[in-house]
């Protein structure tokens, strides 16, 4: 039994037919066709499917799409400015070589954003704690931590959100 619902993703309203059982990760990827959001373990352990809902990091593989009506959903695609300019966090990941295979990167960046929104100048320990729900199978954590640290500096000096 499908029904039409409205989802607000990256400030754009999408009308999508969903069943109650449809997971947000599948709807974002297969129906809205935003494939930046990845599906990894499907059990909430790896963090690859992380999206922001009302600014907070959420596992879209354990979230029902139908429960997300009237909420503000942000995916990795929404971080890039309209002119194509990367968000300071994305730029920091590029500058620090924090992207290897790239599969964990969208979730990792969105988790980084939620962390920096709450705490723009986190310590190394706070960064490690903040991203502990995002697993990088290439194990490039050191550069990721450095990138988040640098992005925090850029954001707090420039006042970018």
């Amino acid at each position: 039994m499908k029904q039409l619902i409205e989802l607000t993703i990256n400030n754009r309203v999408y009308e999508v037919p969903v069943s109650p059982k449809d997971l947000l990760a599948d709807v974002i990827r297969d129906k809205v066709r935003l494939t930046g959001t990845k599906k990894g373990c499907g059990q909430g352990d790896c963090g690859a499917c992380t999206v922001l809902i009302d600014g907070e990091p959420v596992l879209s593989c354990l979230t029902l799409a139908i429960a997300c009506q009237e909420k503000k959903i942000d995916t990795i695609e929404g971080l890039v400015a309209e002119d194509g300019q990367l968000h300071p966090i994305q730029q920091a990941y590029v500058d620090h070589g924090a992207v290897q295979c790239g599969f964990c990167t969208p979730g990792m960046i969105l988790t980084s954003k939620a962390l920096l929104d709450r705490n723009p100048k986190p310590s190394e320990e706070e960064i490690k704690r903040g991203i502990s729900g995002n697993i990088c199978r290439c194990t490039g954590y050191k550069k990721i931590v450095e990138a988040i640290f640098a992005a925090g500096e850029t954001i707090s000096t420039a006042g970018v959100k």
């Binding site: 907070e56 354990l62 029902l64 988790t111």
Partner: protein, 293 residues
Amino acid sequence: MYLNNFEYFAPKTPGEALDLVGRMGNKAKVLAGGTDLIIMMKEKMIQPEYLIDINNVKEFKGISYEPGKGAVIGAATKISELEYSPVIRDKYFALHQAAGELGSVQVRTMATIGGNSCHASPAAETPTPLVAFGAKVVISSVSGDRELPLEEFILGNRKNALGEGELLTQFILPEPAPKSASRYWYIGLRDAMEIDAVNMAVNIVLENDGRTVKELTLVMGSVSPRPLVSVEVPGILVGKEFNSELVEKAAQAAAGEAKPISDIRASAEYRREVTAVLARRLLQAAFDAAREV
């Protein structure tokens, strides 16, 4: 990894929610955070016909505190809200610690205090300190509310005291005693995103001299099917001046009371060893903190 078909309901008021829970009974499951429920559905451990999403009922959410009376926490309150709540940190520190160590930041954003107790995993984080604080739960249905100590609500591994048509709606925490402090910690295989091998909470009240133990509760998690409240540790320390000899005796007593199993995360022998380690550390830390109050 797909879910069965079900009908979805998102009530907006407590009345609507309780009416749905009452009418659908065992054919329905309540969706709070979903971090356990959706996984169980994916694994086909359960296949409910109806899901009742209680996240839009604002009366089921939030933390209120009244000085002298204590705190009331809505069952659908997110773990991250407990983690960041100044009142929880100031008055119920062990709960603040447990909330901050549960899962990952994503899981804490989604999961709820009510779900953590209803799911009743022996390794759950928040029931341990909540039992140490003497928390009660409010169980609601269309015919009214009843209260139960959380210790009696959790019956065993994934078993709780909810009857058909009942919903867990609130936690009631008593006001902490003067000259009291609480501490929580855990030991697991890794630091983050782990399932505890052993967790523990201590809530201690001192006499005005700052040395004599007036009241003490020590609760162990993951060493029994349900939160295990130590009987022997208060017997050793209450009424006595706190000292390292008694702490050592108490730590050994706690390890003796633990009824751990061997599983993928740790052997029973290891769990018993670290029960003593946690007890020693937490008794000392809670005592030191209570002296400062």
